[in-house]
Point group: C2
């Protein structure tokens, strides 16, 4: 197994280091040979070579079976969205070049953390949903985009092909088949031409998956119902921008945002990433919560290597750490807390 | 005062009828002369004349000082988003033709209804925010939109001019000046060219309003923070599609979604509308909650006629009805409940 490590910025390196410890422990226990190759990305790569996703990094990713990604972003870029080179550009370029078309974002609850949610316990207990967000199309990449000559008008273009929609939708149906068999297609088909193509494509595929119940819901309605009753959802598929907004919204309902992992399934490789950002305030202090990165490694064993026992060994030990209180200060609530590296050692 | 009445579909006619009772009572008490003119819209207008926003209705609106709008939408159109004539088209055409560029959507809490929220009380108590959603531009109206010849690709265009952004942003600054002086510009400036123009335009205007603190926040971050800590916001300005999603999300946090009014400020008139939909299941049963429509009438006195005492008389009596339990069954919680028309009579 060739794993590319892209620690990135802020707390990225610290949390990825813990994931590596856990992956190594799993490899030892289950008898796998793992080769890690590290590469630069994000603000760190801008500082080093002036490019947030250099070709050398791309080559490491393409040669890998899976990428473990930390986080990118640095405050020095935050208040200047039109800066020529920005860490986010590297992220978008990486997604596009690796063909990472499906971003898999589960939202689930940890019994011991329900009280952390802004939502009432009875609303969220047992929530178990997963978003498949289309990640390489839509308004993120569509052309033309820019300004008119006088600079008095700006425009962006949202484009989707049947092919792009179909591969994401098929993955949605397949996820649903392995889960509770409910698929929600999130769109704005009452307004957008692209959404109507999404809906038609999903409607065309549905008869191939007769066991799956398909719901079509407008993005604004989902933004409401996610807060009102997240348990109603199983698998949700949606386009890039809607997915950006709704997966972030969904991540706070469980109260465990700092713990949520993600996977991006691609044509050239698969990428696994904690959904929290680079959290620069905590960088270098050995206090960041490594559980989302570690759970991303669990997703890696499941989605990149189809090794379910290995995946479960990791999620089990994460649950155990929560039960036993071997957690970083963000979760310790006045009890003893542990350093990032200590949690990693304990899990490993 | 010339008021156009567009009751529309579903429960629209019932709740607008209560708003009219209350407006008449206020007119009598404060000595105003009010002329109502009713016109058709939505599915009702499609059935009658094959057009959800006929010219005759547009003329009534243009001649009005304010429009009281109920709701539009009918289930027979729901599963066929590509039907040739749809109620929503009427809505979009009305917004465009009346130049209703700013949709004002407050979210606030009623002390007696806090327990209805899916969020914990301490998170929402005292929430008082208002969105200004741009309503006549962006991807809702941009050209080109449609399909390629073979039908294998669909596209939509998001367009904004400096002018469109500036008039909405100025209204945002003015709202902030009258409130807690915090303005949040919601965009996706790390990805979209249109968002960068939004941000630049707001940055250019900011020095004219030195008392206002301006924050710039990405739409995905706002989707999270709205659920985590809605009290952090005062006035939020945003483009059409982001506003569609976020205002609906915001409407559930207070637990009083069924009670939230809205105003749309236009070039040719101003329109006032409860944010709940046409709720067809309840139509004709005299059970729909009329408070959002009545509060929309309160907003009408404030925003269309600058009559604050009249506006306050209405919001005060709504608060009284909640305190006294003169409410429809959705709010009665096992206590005696009242019919839509009875609540309207009591308020009047
Ligand atoms: C940083 C930004 C470009 C990115 C996105 O919008 O996709 C982020 O919000 C995400 O969801 O990974
Ligand atoms: C019905 C639909 C076209 C409309 C919109 O998207 O603007 C609605 O969701 C709203 O917010 O008024």
């Amino acid at each position: 197994m060739n794993i590319a490590l892209l620690p990135g910025d802020g707390i990225g390196p610290e949390v990825i280091a813990q994931a590596v410890k856990v992956v190594n422990a799993v490899a030892k226990k289950f008898g796998h040979t793992i080769t890690f190759k590290e590469a630069i990305t994000g603000a760190a790569a801008i500082d080093a070579v002036g490019n947030p996703y250099p070709d050398s990094t791309h080559e490491v990713c393409v040669a890998s079976d899976a990428v473990l990604f930390g986080a990118i972003g640095h405050p020095k870029f935050d208040n200047d969205p039109s800066a020529k080179v920005r860490p986010e550009q590297g992220l978008l370029e990486m997604r596009k070049k690796l063909g990472l078309f499906s971003n898999v974002r589960p939202t689930f609850t940890f019994p011991s953390l329900l009280h952390k949610s802004p939502l009432k316990k009875e609303r969220i207990e047992g929530t178990d949903l997963v978003f498949l967000r289309e990640l390489t199309g839509g308004i993120y990449f569509g052309e033309p985009r820019g300004r008119n000559e006088q600079g008095t008008k700006a425009f962006d273009t949202c484009v989707y092909s049947v092919e792009e929609i179909e591969r994401l939708a098929r993955m949605g149906f397949e996820f649903a088949m392995k889960r509770r068999k409910l698929l929600t297609c999130v769109d704005k088909a009452n307004v957008l031409a692209t959404s109507r193509l999404w809906r038609e494509t999903v409607q065309r595929l549905a008869p191939e998956y007769p066991e799956v119940t398909v719901e079509y819901e407008f993005v604004d309605a989902v933004a409401m119902r996610l807060v009102q009753w997240p348990k109603a959802y199983d698998v949700l598929i949606t386009e890039n921008l809607f997915g950006d907004i709704l997966t972030d919204e969904a991540s706070v309902i469980s109260g465990s945002m700092g713990l949520m992992p993600s996977a991006s399934i691609g044509l050239k490789t698969k990428l696994f990433e904690p959904i929290h950002g680079s959290y620069p305030q905590a960088a270098g202090k050995d206090i960041a919560n490594p559980l989302a990165a570690v759970l991303s490694a669990s997703m890696m064993f499941e989605y990149a290597f189809d090794l379910m026992d290995e995946a479960k060994a990791i999620s089990d030990v994460v649950n155990l750490s929560l039960e036993k209180g071997v957690v970083t200060e963000d979760l310790s609530e006045g009890e003893k807390s542990y350093k990032t590296s200590e949690v990693g050692d304990w899990l490993a």
